[in-house]
């Protein structure tokens, strides 16, 4: 079921930081991970990922470095910073509060 774009917009940062917390990745890899982990629910327009990654870097939540693969091609990897981990924690708490509140409202509504 296609997810409403508005819902997705607010959550991209937490999704990306959440995945980078465990592993350093490059853009394409990140997109595939998001699709896999969400079982296809989140399917990004790939180009929109890069402005987000670059903004995260400007805000020092992630840092990047270039790596030369065995085929000679240069690839840019992204790694979460301590500041990014703190931001992720904050966003996660925010999400938990939000999620619980909605669940409670819906539950109350049913009763």
């Amino acid at each position: 079921m296609p997810i409403n774009k508005e819902l997705l917009k607010g959550s991209t940062v937490i999704i990306i930081l959440g995945l980078l917390k465990d592993k350093t990745m490059y853009g394409y890899e990140l997109i595939k991970e998001i699709e896999k982990k969400s079982s296809g629910v989140f399917s990004f327009k790939e180009g929109t990922l890069y402005p987000i990654l670059h903004s995260l870097e400007t805000n020092e939540f992630v840092e990047s470095y270039w790596c030369e693969s065995d085929t000679g091609r240069k690839r840019k990897y992204y790694k979460i910073t301590d500041k990014g981990k703190a931001q992720l924690k904050e966003k996660q708490e925010e999400w938990d509060v939000f999620k619980n509140a909605i669940d409670k409202v819906l539950l109350e509504g049913v009763l």
Binding site: T24, Y28, K45, G47, T48, Y50, H54, Y65, W66, C67
Partner: protein
């Protein structure tokens, strides 16, 4: 499968970049997107589509180039480091203000013109910072060796044709008089930042070469009678060594080596020992070598929290014919002792606030150097930072009577044309480096990691 020359992909990438104002990131953005394209293309080709169809699918998947271009543009908006630039302007204003008050006590015709000259220098300085902000500092890198050799030559010329002003050897070029020797550490640092980039400290030959590169300027500066400049130079040199990842034993040997040379130079002459350590033993020669330190202590102790108001501390001397003449208690109030003047006139509260601002300035510069990715830029900022910190710390402590008096002024605040201009050049270059801080220079990266 290399598709960089495919027309559709090229057009797409060019369109994205056309919305990104920061030209320096174009290359790396194209590289990153191209990498993504190639991976996607691989997937589609493997699933059986033709090249033509795959490329179309890939471009579709990427999304609207205009949108991506605009979003990337806002992610790469260049933000100047306002606190560093702003604080340097604030310090210059404070200097101008202090000079204004000194002038208005109408003591010395020379000081009158100093105020107007300083105003012109300040305006010139603002223009320099503005101009250098838009200058690409990376263009300097290829001139590193040339700058080093140029500075060495000028120092030799000064030594061979000395033009002494107040004991310092000045460079005389037409109508301009420049204390080139005190400017030379900065030029050397600019040169050495480029030279020490990617310097292999593991190679013993490189270490010896570095030693030679450090000794030549020191010998020349000593010949031009500026021990202070050589101390500043060595401090900055050591910082550059640390920042370019020299070995600990190499750094220690340079520090210990030069300290030994400096100390043996000072202790080799009984007279020199007396001069340099006079600040500790002012009572031994109160009317001679210890005199100025006693005056400083007296002035700052009489300041109180809010100072004596903008005034010019004078001492009365009775001449033999009975006439009383007023003498400024401290010479060089507008240069070496401007901080003492500020304490005397405006009190300790103002002085402590000023020290707090200066500390903030130094901290911000350090933080900026950490945020910069380019090694050359990092070395430049750290080198400049060490020069400015050394001057700030020594001049302030000297103005409190806690360190030997040498010919050094507080950066930006003290009056002094050539020093002020060079300080502004440093600020301008630092802003240029900071502006391009996130531009990851791909060709310069040392790819040591192998992730997979």
């Amino acid at each position: 499968m290399s598709i960089e020359n495919n027309l559709e992909i090229k057009t797409y990438l060019d369109e994205v970049c056309s919305y990104i104002k920061c030209k320096e990131v174009h290359e790396q953005i194209k590289l990153e997107l191209l990498d993504h394209f190639e991976e996607l293309l691989q997937d589609y080709l493997e699933s059986g589509l033709t090249l033509e169809e795959s490329i179309n699918k890939v471009l579709q998947n990427m999304g609207d180039p205009i949108l991506i271009g605009k979003q990337l543009n806002s992610a790469h908006k260049a933000k100047p480091e306002w606190s560093i630039i702003g604080l340097s302007f604030v310090f210059s204003l404070i200097g101008l203000l202090a000079l204004f008050f000194i002038k208005s006590t109408e003591f010395n015709a020379y000081l009158n013109s100093a105020f107007y000259k300083s105003t012109i220098f300040s305006l010139f300085g603002v223009a320099i910072v503005f101009f250098l902000y838009f200058f690409d500092y990376r263009k300097l890198k290829k001139y590193s060796k040339a700058i080093y050799i140029f500075t060495v030559c000028i120092l030799i010329i000064i030594h061979l044709f000395p033009h002494s002003v107040n004991g310092a050897s000045y460079l005389h070029v037409g109508p301009l008089y420049m204390d080139f020797t005190s400017i030379s550490p900065i030029l050397f640092i600019i040169a050495l930042s480029g030279i020490f980039m990617n310097w292999n400290w593991n190679d013993p030959k490189k270490f010896i070469l570095a030693l030679i590169l450090s000794i030549i300027p020191i010998i020349l500066m000593e010949y031009c009678c500026s021990t202070m400049s050589s101390c500043i130079f060595i401090a900055a040199f050591v910082v550059l060594m640390i920042a370019s990842r020299a070995k600990v034993y190499q750094i220690l040997s340079i520090i210990i080596g030069y300290s030994t040379i400096l100390l043996s130079y000072v202790f080799s002459s009984h007279y020199r020992v007396k001069i340099y350590f006079a600040f500790m033993f002012t009572s031994k020669d109160p009317s001679g070598l210890g005199y100025l330190y006693i005056v400083i202590k007296k002035l700052i102790h009489s300041a109180g929290l809010w100072g004596n108001g903008p005034s010019f501390p004078t001492t009365d001397f009775v001449q033999r014919n009975g006439i009383i003449i007023h003498h400024p208690s401290l010479p060089f109030m507008h240069t070496n002792f401007i901080f003492t003047y500020i304490i005397y006139s405006f009190g300790w509260i103002v002085a402590i606030c000023l020290v707090a601002l200066i500390s903030l300035f130094i901290v911000r510069m350090f933080k900026a150097s950490e945020r910069v990715k380019d090694d050359y830029g990092k070395l430049l900022i750290k080198g400049f930072l060490s020069i400015l910190s050394f001057k700030f710390i020594w001049s302030i402590l000297m103005n409190l009577g806690l360190l030997p008096i040498v010919s050094i002024g507080i950066p930006f605040i003290s009056y002094g044309g050539s020093d002020f201009i060079t300080n502004m050049i440093m600020i301008g270059l630092i802003s240029s480096v900071y502006k391009l801080k996130s531009v990851n220079l791909i060709s310069e990266q040392k790819n040591t990691l192998n992730v997979k």
